[in-house]
Symmetry: C2
Subunit: 193 residues, 2 copies
DNA sequence: ATAACAATGTACCAAGCGGTACATACGGGG
DNA sequence: CCCCGTATGTACCGCTTGGTACATTGTTAT
């Protein structure tokens, strides 16, 4: 049994790390915070992540990438009906961001200098997401240029909805904005299909 | 000459402080950063802002509030043509955020735990902005409920455009998203007027 | 039972943090 | 010209930071 020889592996610490980075940002998430969030001492943390904070954040980003690929990008390709795929995406995203209470780590990384180290990953995350949505719209006969524009509108709009919801402390605002985005994309599919 | 008796007053330090907070966030903007950004030593900084970092940020927020009231909210009320007022707002906002290169301090304050102290101001900033846009749309005969929804769409969309633009490092994305928002609001005015 | 090794807690480090104290430099009003 | 309050640089404070070192534990294979 080589695989499960350890009681705790770094994988199982990722969700707690992600939540800590989410709530405090990269700067604000001190090792004390990360230690309390995971229940792991500094010794264990540095055993699993020899590269320190930066490696922890990198692992969290990898985890998020994997999750998005599975839960968002792949369905956008696989589901035969583009309208259904888009609708599902908004549902899944709303749940993931807990109607805007939960911050998008990657989006907020791009906002200040602390995240510059991860700039390439941040860019790739958004580019992949926009690309996936645009390709899905194209499958629904939306012209390529218009598809990209709608995809940008959607991803940008979701990020804005998170900012607005956190600022107002009003989850209903998230629902309103996201529903409007959903309608806009579905309308585009209707008109083109 | 009572007014100009001092060589440097706290007012003149505000732009540099704002830029520092903008680029590094509240946590990331250490006193060393703020000192270098303003060219003032710690002595002077604490002479002007006895309350330390928190008072500096509060002063910056006051300054921003004042600027928005003058450059955004008042024109939204005063300009007789709602369509012109909305168009101007998007122009002014695009310039202010430098097509998305510049972060919205207040929006990003809401995103992590460091900004919790300022939660009330953050909420007020967004509520006022949405209110001003909504009232302007109502002046153009857009029904109240729809006006609020469009106003939310605009403010939320602008915040999202900033996030997206910073993430992609692509100012053109900001222009595309914001133009789309502008059209959406002007269309609503057209349909209702 | 024991050897080998991963996992962990603790002590420690230099550097940086926000903030304070204070002696000095400065400049306008008497 | 001097005086007094403001402005400023510097030294310093206690504390936290990210990170390291290491001795100890716990587990597993032999």
């Amino acid at each position: 049994m080589r695989a499960k020889r350890v009681l705790t592996d770094r994988e199982s610490a990722l969700p707690a790390l992600a939540e800590a980075f989410r709530e405090h940002g990269y700067d604000g998430a001190s090792l004390a915070v990360l230690s309390k969030a995971t229940g792991l001492g500094k010794g264990s943390l540095y055993n699993f992540f020899p590269g320190g904070k930066e490696e922890m954040m990198a692992a969290v980003l990898d985890d998020i990438d994997r999750w998005f690929a599975d839960a968002i990008f792949r369905p956008l390709e696989d589901i035969s009906s583009p309208a259904k795929a888009i609708g599902l995406m908004f549902d899944v995203v709303s749940a993931y961001f807990q109607s805007g209470r939960r911050v998008c780590i990657i989006g907020s990384l791009g906002l200040n200098a602390a995240g510059e180290v991860f700039a390439a990953r941040v860019r790739q995350y958004f580019a992949r997401w926009i690309g996936a949505v645009a390709r899905c719209l194209e499958r629904g006969s939306v012209p390529p240029a218009l598809a990209v524009e709608h995809a940008e509108e959607a991803i940008s709009g979701i990020q804005g909805a998170i900012v607005l919801t956190r600022a107002l402390g009003d989850e209903a605002a998230f629902a309103r904005v996201v529903d409007r985005l959903r309608s806009s994309l579905l309308d585009a599919l209707d008109r083109s299909g």
